[in-house]
Symmetry: C2
Subunit: 365 residues, 2 copies
C-alpha cells in the first residue's frame, strides 16, 4: 500500500515534467526551501518545521541543470527499486546511478554524503514521503526490549518478534519501522529512552522494563531515523515517552532533537518529532536532591558551557522556565553529571531513580 | 561456574598480598608486560600475543603506589559485583570507586578511557580472565541473524533466541557471549562477516543466510569485543568463518584484526583472534574479474596508500604472497573498491558474488 502510493507520486512528478516538455516549456520541479530563513519553530505543534517558501528548480538553467538531472535520475532509480521490491542504501543507489549513467557521472556527485543527502531531502519534502518509502535503507543504531510484540512482514515472510524475549541483549531497531511492521500486542504502559547503551544494559539486567511494564530503548547517543520513527509510532498509540540522558548540554540536546527536531532536520517535520516527550533527568536540580551525587559531579569544560549558552538562545527551549533554570545553573555552577553516576552508591539505584521521577511526575517539559 | 572461578582468582590475588604484608614484605603484583617490546606474532598459532616478559608492581614504590592501589580497588569492587551478581560498565565502576574512596580519588584517574582500560587490562592478563568475567559490560555494536538458536541464561531467566526469526533486523550481539550463553541448535554451515551494516541489510533482505544456510554478522566497522568472541565461539564449534569487507587498507585491516588481533589488542591473545578466518573480498583482483566493476572503482587517497604501505610491513601479513600481491596492486593502481559497488549493476549481485567466492574457494588466507 505504502509502495503503491510512493510509486504514484514518483510517476506524477515525471508526468508533470513530460507535459511541460510537450508544452514547449522547461521542465520544473518545486520543492520547499530548506535554508535557515524558511525554518520555524511552530509553538502550536511543538516542533521545528519548514515554512511556506518554495523553490523552483528549472532544467533549462545553467546553475540548476546538473542537480535537476540528478534528482530525476534518483527518482527514476528509486522507482525501479520499488517495482523490484528491493532495498538499498544511498551508497548502493549511487553505484547504480554510476553504472547506468556511465563514467560521465562525476563521482564526486555522491562522494560527499551531504550532497547526496540533499538530493534525497529534495525528493522527500517535494513529494511528502520519507526516504524509507523510496526503499532506501539507513544505518541502524538503537536497540529495543520490552513488553511488546511486533508483526514483521518483510522479504515475503511474516515474523513475530517478542521484544520481551530478547534475553541479555535486544532487537536492533531497523532502518524502516513503518512499511510492513505492526505492533500487535503492546502491554507496556510507557516508553523509556535511555541515552547510553551502558545504562540500557544495566536496566535490562534489572529487568526494569518487565517490572515497570515499559519499552526500553537506547538510541546510543543521537537517535537514528529508525529509532525516532519507532518512538513516534509508540507515542501515536498513546504511550507516554520519557527521556533519560546525561546532565549536560549534549545529553539534553539528544532529548530536544527527539522532542522538537533540530534546524538540520526541520524538513522532516511531524514524522520525526515527539513533542509529547518528557525529560526525567539527569538534572542540575538532582545535585541538591541526592546527597551522594554531590561528590560525583564533573567539572564542565568551556565547550559544555558554550553549548549551554547556545541552547538558552533557542526559542523552542527558552520558552520553558524549567529549562532556563537548568541551563543557568550549568552556567553558574559549571558542573555536569553523567547518568552513569547514579550507580555510584548502588548499581540498582538507576531504576529507583526513574521510578521516583515518573511516579512523582518530576519531569521537565 | 565462570563466576566462582573468577572470584577464586581475585581472592587468590588478595591472599598473596596479605601473606606478603604479614611476612613484612611490600605487596607485589605480577603482570605480563604489554609494551611493544613484548608483543610478538606467533606464526605457529597465527595471532599476535604477549611474550614472556613480566613486570612486578610494588606497593612500596613511589612511582607505582597509586596505580597499585587503584588495581587493588578495582579487584575488590569487581569481586563485589560478582558476589552481588550484577554487571556494570567501566564508567559505572569508576563512579562506585569514586563514591567509596571519597573525593580524594582524583577524578582524572578514570577520566581518560585509556588509563582506566590499562588497569582492567592489568587484571585481565595477570589473572588470565576477560573483563566480561569481572562483570564489566562493554559497548555493543554488531548484529547477527541466521540459522542458529541461542539459549540465554540471564538475570534469573532462561530465554531462547532464534536468530532465524529476527525479521527485517537482527539480534544485537551482546557484551558477553560466554557466561550463561549456549548455542543449542546451529544449523548454519558457516559464518559470514560483512563489514558494513548497509550490506548486511541488503543480504538480510535477500534472506541470504537462509538460502545459503549461514550466520550473517556485521561488526559495523571494527568488531566489538562481543562480536569477536561470538565469531571465536562459532569457529570453536567448527564453522568456517568468511570475512567480506571494502577493498582498501581499512576494510582489510578489519579482517586482520578479527583474524590475528592487533598490536593494541595483543594482550587478548587466543580468546579474541580467529586465525582460521578467510577473506573472500573485495580484492583488487576483482577489478579484472568483474567487468562492471571497472567503472565503479574509487581513486585511493594518499592516506589509503600510506596505510597499505604500512600493512606491507606487518610480519603477520607479508608472509602471505596473496596479500603482498593485493597490497602492491593498491600501491601501483591507486584504486579502491567499496563493497557497496557490487550492487552497481544489480542489487542482488552481492549474494552471487559471495556464493562464487566461497563455492570456488576463491579466498585469501
Amino acid at each position: 500500500m505504502g509502495d503503491a502510493n510512493t510509486i504514484e507520486k514518483l510517476k506524477g512528478m515525471g508526468a508533470t515534467m513530460v507535459e511541460q516538455v510537450k508544452g514547449g516549456k522547461s521542465p520544473t520541479f518545486e520543492t520547499p526551501l530548506r535554508s535557515r530563513g524558511n525554518i520555524e519553530y511552530d509553538k502550536a505543534v511543538g516542533f521545528l518545521r519548514l515554512g511556506d517558501k518554495t523553490e523552483e528548480r528549472k532544467f533549462l538553467n545553467v546553475a540548476q541543470a546538473r542537480t535537476f538531472m540528478q534528482t530525476v535520475a534518483v527518482a527514476n532509480k528509486t522507482k525501479k527499486f520499488l517495482l523490484e521490491d528491493l532495498h538499498t542504501s544511498i551508497r548502493g543507489l549511487y553505484y547504480q546511478l554510476k553504472f547506468s549513467l556511465g563514467e560521465n557521472l562525476d563521482e564526486s556527485l555522491f562522494e560527499e554524503q551531504t550532497e547526496s543527502n540533499a538530493l534525497i531531502e529534495d525528493l522527500e519534502v517535494a513529494l511528502g514521503i520519507k526516504r524509507e518509502d523510496l526503499h532506501l535503507t539507513t544505518d541502524r543504531k538503537g536497540v529495543v526490549a520490552g513488553e511488546m510484540v511486533i508483526k514483521d512482514n518483510f522479504a515475503g515472510e511474516e515474523t513475530t518478534i517478542d521484544c520481551a524475549k530478547q534475553g541479555r541483549s535486544g532487537w536492533m531497531i531497523p532502518s524502516d519501522v513503518d512499511n510492513g511492521m505492526e505492533f500487535v500486542d503492546v502491554k507496556a504502559k510507557y516508553v523509556l529512552v535511555v541515552e547510553k547503551d551502558a545504562l540500557w544494559q544495566r536496566l535490562n539486567e534489572d529487568r526494569f522494563w518487565k517490572k515497570d511494564n515499559c519499552i526500553l530503548i537506547t538510541p546510543k547517543g543521537q537517535a537514528s531515523r529508525g529509532t525516532r520513527r519507532l518512538i513516534r509510532r509508540l507515542a501515536d498509540i498513546g504511550l507516554p515517552v520519557y527521556v533519560f540522558t546525561d546532565c549536560d548540554a549534549w545529553g539534553w540536546y539528544i532529548y530536544w532533537t527527539i522532542k522538537t527536531g533540530s534546524m538540520n532536520l526541520a524538513y522532516l517535520g511531524s514524522d520525526f518529532s515527539i513533542p509529547e516527550a518528557r525529560f526525567i533527568g539527569v538534572t542540575m536540580g538532582d545535585i541538591e536532591e541526592f546527597e551522594f551525587l554531590k561528590k560525583l559531579t564533573i567539572k564542565a569544560k568551556p565547550i559544555d558551557i558554550k553549548r549551554a549558552q547556545e541552547m538558552l538562545d533557542y526559542p523552542w527551549i527558552n520558552i520553558y522556565p524549567e529549562w532556563v533554570g537548568e541551563l543557568k545553573k550549568v552556567l553558574k555552577e559549571k558542573k555536569k553529571i553523567e547518568q552513569d553516576a547514579l550507580q555510584g552508591e548502588k548499581l540498582t539505584f538507576v531504576g529507583e531513580y526513574i521510578r521516583k521521577k515518573i511516579g512523582n511526575k518530576e519531569w521537565l517539559p
